[in-house]
């Protein structure tokens, strides 16, 4: 698979795979984090979840992962059949490990994709598999490096490579662009878009980077405890209520929403 400069083709959306979230409510103690969220995400669809800090965006992803208790329902169906445990690829917002951890990139990937104990060493076949996964994201040179030595961008590529091995039904990305420089950013968005097209993966991306995601997302969902706006990125960004609620970001977004409207026409065109 190549990631860049490939001829465009219609997404292979089968229309029968989806994630249905119905009346999802999450509460920690007395505080309600998410309230009555209803959302349907089809396969091959890139949905951007936006909203202010503390709006419950990460919690939504954790509910989908089954990591936090919730009321309501989250159901997955694949090719028309209910699937209780879909394959989920997940790129967390931040990792919480000591930078001197003696864990190499190949250890990290192997521990997730194989049952062979990593302390007995990574088998050559598994190493090749990790290498192939990293190659897709031009990160194969990182295989032997310790996880703690990687830069933000390098770590992001490793995490994405891991999330895509094996190819998941749903890809959850939690603010995946923090710590990536401008050049890495455009590569990252292209990569994500290509993944969606080629593998028919549902992608749910939590992000603050509205200008960058808007041209790529099929839908944008604005969350603050519950869904306040949902639709095409231009529609959501044009929503006056949203702009007011974002407060300090007012200027950037209102300026930006115009450029989005313009760029939305060439939405499905390949990126230069």
């Amino acid at each position: 698979m190549t990631l860049h400069g490939k001829a465009p083709h219609t997404p292979r959306v089968c229309g029968h795979c989806c994630t249905s979230i119905d009346s999802l409510t999450v509460a920690f103690g007395r505080g309600i984090v998410l309230k009555d969220v209803n959302l349907r995400i089809n396969c091959g669809e890139l949905v951007a979840i936006v909203g202010p800090n503390g709006a419950g965006k990460t919690t939504l992803l954790k509910a989908i992962l089954g990591e936090v208790p919730y009321t309501g329902s989250i159901r997955f169906s694949i090719r028309g059949f209910i699937c209780p445990a879909p394959r989920i690829g997940y790129v967390p917002q931040k990792l919480n490990f000591d930078s001197d951890s003696p864990i190499s990139v190949s250890d990290f990937m192997s521990s997730a994709i194989s049952r062979h104990p990593v302390w007995l060493g990574v088998r050559p076949s598994l190493r090749r598999k990790c290498n192939a996964a990293l190659e897709r994201f031009s990160a194969e040179h990182l295989l032997k490096r310790r996880l703690g030595e990687l830069s933000g961008g390098e770590l992001q590529r490793v995490l994405l490579a891991m999330a895509m091995t094996p190819v998941p039904d749903i890809l959850l990305l939690d603010e995946p662009v923090s710590g990536i420089d401008a050049k890495g950013l455009s590569v990252f968005y292209r990569t994500v878009c290509d993944l969606r097209r080629e593998h028919d993966v549902s992608i749910i991306m939590v992000t603050h980077d509205l200008p960058a995601i808007a041209p790529h997302a099929d839908r944008m969902v604005f969350i603050r405890q519950s869904i306040l706006a949902e639709g095409k990125p231009s529609e959501v960004l044009a929503n006056a209520n949203l702009i007011v609620s974002l407060g300090s970001n007012l200027w950037t977004i209102s300026q930006f929403s115009e450029s989005v409207v313009k760029s939305e026409d060439d939405h499905d065109r390949p990126l230069p």
């Binding site: 920690f28 954790k62 992962l65 089954g66 990591e67 445990a85 989920i88 690829g89 997940y90 967390p92 990792l95 919480n96 490990f97 000591d98 001197d100 951890s101 003696p102 864990i103 190499s104 190949s106 250890d107 990290f108 192997s110 521990s111 997730a112 194989s114 049952r115 062979h116 104990p117 990593v118 302390w119 007995l120 060493g121 990574v122 032997k144 310790r146 996880l147 999330a163 959850l172």
Partner: protein, 287 residues
Amino acid sequence: MIDLCHRVIESATVLECLKYDFMKRALLAVSLGTPMFALLGTMVVSNRMVFFSDVLGHSALTGVAIGVILGLADPLWSTLVFAVILAIGVNVFRRATHAANDTVLGVFLATVVALGIVILSRGGGFAKFSSYLIGDILAVTPQQLAILGILLAVVLAYWVVAANGLVLVSISPSLARSRGMSSFLIETSFAVLLAVVVTFSIRLVGILMINSLLVLPAAAARNLSCDVRSYTLWTVGLSLFSGFAGLFASYYWGTATGATIVLFSAAFYIVAAVCGGWWRGRTLAQS
């Protein structure tokens, strides 16, 4: 040639102490115990459970005290049950309250130590329990050796099944969750296993030293290794070496064995911390 003969004779004098049965048993105990501690220690350090395992060790004070109150002939069982309940309790409590890890553990540590001392010191009789503080590996019984052997087998089996999960949880519990692993199950099962091993070993190495035996070799090995395999190998190697060196040194110096072993591990830690960067660079350049 003469030099070589001298060395052989010297090494024979070191091993001379092995004519005693208690030294043979102690040597066997070290050979079984230190690799087991080493394996557990790698993940105790990686998963930031150093303070937690310290609490487990100290909980033996309360465990023994409960055994004394219940009138048990051997307080081992009350110690074991208490440590396991504590291990599960701390994990549940931490998740339920979202409180800072070290604060919660500090509270637990203070409580179990104070409770144990209060009960054991009733009537001024704490001195007879002081053997729990230091332990005595030279007094190891064949029965204890058998238990150590079984525990080592259990730890190895657990390591084959669960080590990958522990590695992943040490990096990101959410990521582990996305791979269908429950971080609660992994952390709690590890904590329970740790509780069992620590409890059985208290008699041999003592409450004060047990955590150092778990933590120091792994802490030293972290400086020298670039991946999980070399981390494990280094930890087991350093553990065994410190164990043997400490055992023989304590025989000739007449010192407590557990503490002597720990001093050797500490020396390795200092060397590893100083030379670690250079060593890792060399290893990477070679590979």
